[in-house]
């Protein structure tokens, strides 16, 4: 109810004050090629972008950053894109949509306004953040990547798992406990974030028996033993560790960044 009222009031304010609204998408971790615009766009899928922006009628930016990097490196890459876009298009009312590690990246920006000169101007223009499946308290799946990395093999430098990179290391439960305590705001015992984060936690695994991703996510969930409900990558408790709970979704980690199994994009569009 509070959120719906806020949307109504902001819409009225925008009409009166001629604010220009825009939406920014920040993806999760992955490969270095996520820095490419086309790859970043494909991460979300066209229908998610279409639905969230009400048929592309809301000005939008799909950020693309190297998905292997630490949150502070990713933060600077994202901030540069947002800063340039918001100034070029005179956007002064920004809704941020994030998925997975993207939720951590935006928290870095919100929590460390003096880290880069572009951060505070961006923060000033953010309305709020909608964070889908963010590993706010870390991900036990990221712990597994560390456990299975090539560091443990004597005599070989081969990283069999291949993804124990900086972004994955940032997502482990140990790392997020560390950064939550010292550098990130919004978690228990810490100063509040300067803008509201609404979280959407994934609580489903089996969405589509045809797609192999579901088998993979179910395997991961079974192997790492995430406590409580999870979406195959991020536990509900972790996603809900920061911010306000907006809703939960049965869409797993593969599907909850899209507008297919569940119409999450349609929900995001209610902000406009």
């Amino acid at each position: 109810m509070k959120r719906a009222l806020a949307v109504l009031l902001l819409t009225l304010a925008a009409v009166t004050a001629f604010a220009k609204t825009g939406v920014v998408f920040i993806h999760g971790k992955g490969g270095a090629n996520l820095a490419q615009a086309s790859v970043a766009r494909a991460y979300w899928g066209e229908d998610m972008l279409r639905a969230s922006t009400k048929g592309f009628t809301i000005p939008y930016l799909v950020c693309g950053y190297d998905g292997t990097q630490y949150m502070w490196v990713a933060g600077n890459q994202v901030a540069g894109q947002i800063y340039n876009w918001m100034n070029a298009n005179a956007i002064d009312d920004i809704v941020i949509e994030t998925h997975s590690f993207g939720g951590v990246v935006i928290r870095w920006i919100l929590s460390n306004p003096t880290y880069d000169s572009r951060y505070q101007p961006i923060i000033n223009r953010i309305r709020w953040v909608n964070s889908i499946a963010p590993p706010n308290a870390g991900s036990e799946a990221a712990n597994l990547a560390g456990t299975l990395s090539g560091s443990w093999l004597t005599g070989w430098m081969v990283d069999l798992v291949g993804q124990n990179n900086d972004a994955t290391k940032n997502c482990s439960t140990g790392s997020m406990t560390y950064y939550n305590q010292y550098y990130l705001k919004g978690s228990a015992g810490r100063p509040a974030l300067p803008k509201t984060v609404y979280n959407i936690a994934g609580t489903g695994l089996w969405n589509d028996f045809v797609h192999a991703e579901d088998y993979g996510l179910a395997t991961l969930s079974g192997v790492v033993g995430m406590p409580g409900e999870d979406d195959g990558m991020v536990s509900q408790y972790s996603a809900q560790a920061v911010g306000v709970v907006w809703f939960t979704t049965l869409a797993n980690h593969h599907h909850n960044r899209r507008n297919d199994y569940k119409k999450i994009g349609d929900s995001l569009a209610t902000d406009f």
Binding site: W152, V158, Y178
Partner: protein, 363 residues
């Protein structure tokens, strides 16, 4: 409104980038956790190497089993009673064994097909994976419903140079301690190779609590290498359940080895009133010049209710210096005694240069 008022009271001489804020009613001063939440494992990892044709996979018999090969190798799974899941089969004749595949990159686990074999219900015995591999293959076996758990952590989470490191592992079968297991750990620095295996003990003489309580530990005087950054710990446990069934578990832990970028002098921290503000000051010996942030969290000394916070970014040169930040008295409820959590954080390379918690009188 309070924050706006507070900012309006800031003298012009203070750093423009300093920021202050308040906590919500009910928020309490929360010291950083000594270690990350325990990693609770019901799985173990093994490596199938070229030259080995079989891999033993112990099962406790109280769960299903997931056998995950990090490559889609041609493998046969053999049960203790001789049933098999043949290399090309999707399931066994009685459907108790099943196989499926997925793309590793979909989960961020590197390219290549991954293979999973599922055992609906295990027997308390050893299963066998038969495969011929050209390169080392990681095999993970998990028992998701098992009562046997390995809970692990490493401390301290933020470790300053010279601080000892404790490795902690707890083995349980439900609520019961699992004793007489062999528990070891290896530590790997950030982007480095793991060191030698270190044994943990449950004898009451290694910071492990009481003897034979299922808690295994060891305290190291120092890390194996002088390397800053995120250290990962991999724990291995092998033993037998109360019923005599063999089990294995692999767990993990992490800690941040700090860089010794600066030293915060705890005794130097004090709070003084300057006009409408409280100025918190600390002496610091900076070893690595660069950008830092001086953070203070102030709480009621008696109730520990969190009152206000301040963050002050500073560019520091090497050598001794004094840092200060001001918080409006109004945000501190005019308290005469405060509990301060004072931190110096590196910003060029994120890391805790120093942290002190101290009670001060406001003079």
């Amino acid at each position: 409104m309070k924050i706006l008022l507070a900012l309006a009271l800031f003298p012009a001489s203070l750093f423009a980038a300093d920021s202050v804020g308040t906590f919500a009613p009910g928020d309490m001063l929360t010291p950083p956790a000594a270690h990350a939440p325990a990693n609770v494992s019901r799985m173990y990892a093994r490596t199938l190497t070229p030259g080995e044709r079989t891999l033993d996979l112990p099962a406790a018999g109280d769960s299903s089993m997931i056998v995950w090969t990090m490559r889609a190798v041609s493998a046969r799974l053999v049960t203790p009673t001789g049933r098999t899941l043949e290399p090309d089969a999707v399931q066994s004749s009685d459907r108790s064994l099943q196989r499926f595949r997925f793309e590793g990159s979909d989960l961020g686990f590197g390219k290549g097909q991954q293979q999973v074999m599922h055992v609906a219900r295990t027997e308390a015995a050893t299963y066998r994976l038969e495969a011929a591999v050209q390169e080392p293959v990681t095999v993970v076996a998990a028992e998701p419903e098992s009562r046997i758990t390995l809970s692990t952590w490493a401390a301290p989470l933020s470790r300053q140079p010279g601080e000892p490191v404790t490795l902690h592992a707890e083995l349980r079968e439900g609520a019961d301690a699992l004793t007489e297991a062999r528990v070891t750990a290896r530590l790997a620095p950030a982007n480095g190779k793991a060191g030698e295996s270190i044994e943990l003990f449950d004898d009451g003489r290694h910071d492990d609590g009481a003897a034979n309580d299922g808690v295994y530990a060891i305290t190291l005087n120092d890390l194996p290498q002088d390397a800053a950054g995120l250290w990962q710990v991999r724990f291995e446990a092998d033993g037998r359940t109360a019923a005599g069934a063999r089990f294995a578990r692999t767990g993990s832990g992490e800690l941040m080895a700090e860089r010794d970028a600066a030293r915060l002098d705890a005794a130097s921290i004090h709070a003084t009133v300057h006009g409408e503000n409280v100025r918190i000051t600390a002496s610091v010996d900076v070893r690595i010049a660069g950008n830092y942030r001086f953070d203070v969290i102030a709480a009621d000394a008696t109730t520990r209710a969190a009152l206000a916070w301040a963050e002050a970014p500073r560019a520091l040169t090497a050598g001794p210096t004094e840092l200060s930040v001001e918080i409006p008295l109004a945000l501190l409820a005019n308290k005469e005694s405060l509990r301060l959590d004072v931190r110096l954080l590196g910003m060029d390379t994120p890391g805790v240069a120093g942290r002190v918690e101290r009670e001060v009188s406001v003079r």
